[in-house]
Symmetry: C2
Subunit: 129 residues, 2 copies
């Protein structure tokens, strides 16, 4: 059934909501962004993505594996080596997410400028120091 089942992400009980909630996540975007380039080992991801804890990395990878987006490959070396890579399904998503990262990096200047303008007018009430 490649047909359009007309899922609707705007309906609260729609399963797409769950998926959207998962992929619309800062860490997921960054992780899949890296996996889109090449396979990575656990600790390599951890070092690459600053501010990410093992706990969250572990959780997120497990979820992504369960969702069929990431493949976990264990090499029976000593000590054990584990490699994470994209599945074909994950590959179709990684492109969209990479474009998000690119957007952020390309438009951060404009966003920062907009924030300054906004804070100048609406005299700072709730902004972080």
């Amino acid at each position: 059934m490649p047909a359009a089942p007309s899922w609707n992400a705007y309906a609260s009980e729609c399963p797409t909501r769950m998926v959207l909630d998962r992929i619309a996540d800062k860490w997921t975007v960054l992780i899949l962004g890296l996996l889109g380039q090449q396979p990575w080992r656990f600790n390599a991801l951890l070092r690459k993505i600053e501010g990410l804890s093992q706990k969250v990395l572990s959780q997120t990878l497990k979820r992504l594996e369960r969702d069929g987006l990431v493949r976990r490959t264990v090499f029976p070396t000593a000590p054990v080596t584990v490699e994470y890579s994209l599945t074909p399904l994950g590959g179709t998503l990684a492109d969209s997410l990479a474009s998000l990262i690119r957007w952020a990096e390309e438009n951060i200047d404009a966003v920062l400028a907009a924030q300054h303008r906004f804070d100048g007018q609406h005299d700072a009430g709730d902004r972080p120091a």
Copy 2:
């Protein structure tokens, strides 16, 4: 300065992180997804996006306005009418986000199937009932 300042979203203190954190948000994706089609009024958005509370909608819209992605237009009718629309900057992002929603709606079947397979093998330990 259209040049590449080499921002890096993988550095924890990089401002792009903040932006990424904001746009990689379920509600932001859904909201900008709608605004990409046409302008919307506050309560219309609220009704359209099931499960979204006024508080979160209000917060999110304010942030998006501050980031220069959304324009808030007040019409001096009685009672006052407020319309939310995309700025040009927001427009460049809305396309990427719309593709995320589309991905979710198109691939939800594959994800659901993967979850079943996974849960069958790794005997359910942490899944929600």
